[in-house]
């Protein structure tokens, strides 16, 4: 029987959730026995060749590219899991919502202490357009499971992933259920 496929993506986050995932240490060997890694920054596979079983989303939606990747993951993953505070609540990237996008860009690119000669807000057409606010992923697509934490611990991710890959519902014990 073919192994189930796992895909992961990192939207607006710090990659800490992926690092925490890698923190499963030697259990990565067990993981390789359990799954085939598909689209993911971990193996640098960029495009889907078909449906995968479990998709993991780290990070919030801060620009149009994030939304595009997220929608693609929803379309290609049977089970979609939002991992970490950024994906679930907006997390640290959403701090910009408190100041407003314009004020943030102005502070960074026009009024910053290292800016000389007036500065310029980057507007190259190659750059993905920023959203007005940073949004949690469930505001765009249906999410099947949430793993809170910043990041969720390796134990948390491992426990949930193993449950999903073996066809059971993830049930986190109290000590693994954290918002930080």
């Amino acid at each position: 029987m073919a192994k189930p496929k796992l895909a992961t993506c990192a939207l607006a986050g710090c990659f800490g959730c992926h690092m925490s995932f890698l923190d499963i240490d030697e259990r990565i060997v067990e993981l390789i026995d359990l799954v085939d890694l598909d689209v993911s920054p971990l193996d640098d596979k960029k495009t889907f060749d078909g449906m995968v079983d479990v998709g993991i989303v780290e990070g919030a939606c801060a620009d149009e590219r994030h939304v595009k990747v997220l929608r693609e993951f929803r379309a290609q993953c049977r089970i979609l899991v939002a991992v970490g505070a950024c994906a679930i609540n907006g997390g640290i990237p959403s701090l910009r919502n408190l100041a407003g996008l314009e004020a943030c860009l102005k502070t960074a690119y026009m009024d910053g202490p290292t800016v000389e000669g007036g500065g310029l807000i980057p507007n190259d057409p190659e750059l993905p357009l920023l959203l007005d606010k940073v949004y949690p992923v469930q505001e765009f697509v249906q999410i099947d499971h949430f793993l809170p934490g910043c990041p969720p611990s390796a134990e948390t991710i491992w426990a949930a992933l193993k449950a999903l890959l073996t066809g059971t519902q993830p049930q986190l014990p109290y000590s693994l259920f954290k918002y930080e």
């Binding site: 640290i92 809170p148 910043c150 109290y174 000590s175 259920f177 954290k178 930080e180």
Partner: protein, 239 residues
């Protein structure tokens, strides 16, 4: 108080109470935990947050302000009530700015602990991202209004325990906010040792230079859910 003790039931379990006790007080003493947020044992109850809502004799009632009475039938730990409590907690999270990942109160916060208790994984309401100030003017204490849940514990503690009336509220509905007598904290009579500071259930009123002292894993709600100290009083008695 006269000592005519009487009995009422909570989820079918008989609870003994004495005249003058509220439902929450009697249950606390009996080792039955009714979730609550604005209630504090040392402060006069006000019934602001509604987290303690129980079905009492068929009616939804805030248990922290309801006097216990003989023969009362209280439903507390039911899936329906806990779902409503979770909704209240979700609304409080969505209405303020709660970044638990860098909050000094994480692990000790009653709002967060109630989120854990009710299994709140993701907000069901869109975040409002309000713009709220931080007042760091005081040498020893700061207020981060982003985390204020308007429970009024500090207001009551300052007035009744500290005799100072440092805090108050202004505005109504979504515009309601905490105010400091004098404007800023450094213009108020607040001291770090005030009961008002300790009474805050969340990370809104924070003593400076004391954050993150207790390591992860040893904070109040790291291993045991909120209310465990109360249920422990039942001393092995099971329903």
């Amino acid at each position: 108080m006269s000592s005519e003790r009487f009995t009422f039931t909570v989820d079918g379990v008989p609870v003994e109470a004495e005249p003058g006790q509220t439902v929450v007080e009697a249950c606390d003493a009996a080792g039955i935990y009714i979730p609550r947020l604005c209630h504090h044992p040392d402060l006069p109850p006000v019934g602001h947050c509604r987290v303690c809502t129980c079905v009492i004799d068929g009616r939804q009632t805030a248990a922290c302000i309801m006097p216990a009475a003989k023969g009362m039938v209280v439903e507390n730990n039911t899936p329906a009530l806990n779902a409503e409590r979770r909704t209240l907690i979700e609304m409080l999270f969505a209405e303020g700015n709660h970044f638990c990942q860098f909050c000094e109160a994480s692990g000790d916060c009653e709002l967060q602990a109630l989120g854990y208790l009710f299994g709140m994984v993701a907000p069901s309401f869109p975040h409002l991202w309000p713009e709220r100030p931080v007042d760091a003017s005081h040498p020893d204490v700061y207020i981060d209004h982003n985390r204020c849940i308007l429970c009024s514990r500090c207001v009551r503690a300052s007035r009744t325990l500290d005799g100072k009336s440092v805090f108050g509220f202004e505005g109504r509905g979504i515009d309601m906010h905490l105010t400091v007598t004098g404007g800023h904290l450094d213009e108020s009579a607040l001291a770090a040792a005030d009961k008002a500071v300790a009474a805050c259930p969340v990370g809104c009123i924070v003593i400076k230079r004391t954050g993150y002292r207790t390591p992860y894993g040893r904070r109040r709600y790291d291993e045991a859910p909120i209310g465990s100290d109360i249920t422990a009083r039942r001393g092995g008695a099971k329903d």
